[in-house]
């Protein structure tokens, strides 16, 4: 299944190893609007970064202000982690997400979100992650969730 309007780097069935991670979200919809970008990766995790934006997030240190963009960042990190685990870009949709807001994000700091896909059971990918603004041991938010793999069981 291909998405006809996808830029080349988001073509379905592209092997993950061939994806240009630096270009993955550039200028693309909500992710591009928040300037989300690839940050780092490990064997079984991926990190995305989102620079602070006063105009969008507001300058007040309030837990209700920056929470919204963090949801999207964690959703993306988790979804890309599922592709990474499967080894390819494949159609999937978020089924559910739980976000624990541990503390307010610090205005002005770039937010880093780590996503992991820790299990795939049939057509469901189980994900988890967390977001921080400079200190991974003092996170801003935790995530747990699941994605439905639309092309069926895990490759």
């Amino acid at each position: 299944m291909t998405a006809p309007d996808s830029p080349p780097f988001l073509q379905m069935q592209t092997p993950f190893a061939q994806v240009d991670l630096a270009q993955l979200m550039r200028g693309l919809g909500h992710s591009g609007w928040l300037d989300m970008r690839f940050h780092a990766r490990g064997t079984d995790w991926i990190e995305l970064a989102m620079p602070w934006n006063d105009a969008i997030m507001g300058s007040a240190a309030d837990a209700t202000c920056a929470a919204g963009p963090i949801i999207g960042l964690l959703d993306n990190a988790a979804g890309i982690a599922a592709w990474q685990r499967r080894g390819l870009i494949a159609p999937q949709v978020t089924v559910d997400l739980r976000i624990d807001h541990l503390r307010s994000a610090t205005p002005g700091r770039t937010i880093i979100a780590r996503g992991e896909c820790h299990a795939i059971a049939g057509a469901l990918a189980y994900v988890r992650g967390f977001a921080h603004d400079g200190a991974p041991d003092d996170p801003v938010a935790h995530l747990a969730g699941s994605f439905m793999l639309l092309d069926g069981a895990a490759a």
Binding site: H30, M57, A63, G68, G72, D96, H101
Partner: protein, 130 residues
Amino acid sequence: MSGGVTLPPYAASLGIVFAYTQNGLPVIACDPAEHILGRPGFWHGGVIGGLLEAAALAAAASVPGGEGKMLRAANLTIQFTRGGGMERVFAAGSIERAGRRLLNLRAEAWQQDRSRPIATATMNVLLLDR
């Protein structure tokens, strides 16, 4: 803000607006635009999440006696039930329980039919003294 609804900066930046009042609670809405897109032709899950949070918080603000308290979002759990296509999304919250220190809130997002939501959420909000 119209309808007496105060929206967080992020919600305002997204273009979320007060739409109307139903059952005494505010209904907010967001129109499709380039910046709300996830996979092509669909809303990004993070935008739907932000919309649900804003709706829940708008309902929370209507709790009597809440003026002296600060709201602090503790957690949000979202179920994405249907894909959201390129038309307006509405969202509204409701108060499941208003305790002394904690609010248990619900929210739902829909497009054509409120009885067929595209996403639902539960949210817990801490009440802190100012």
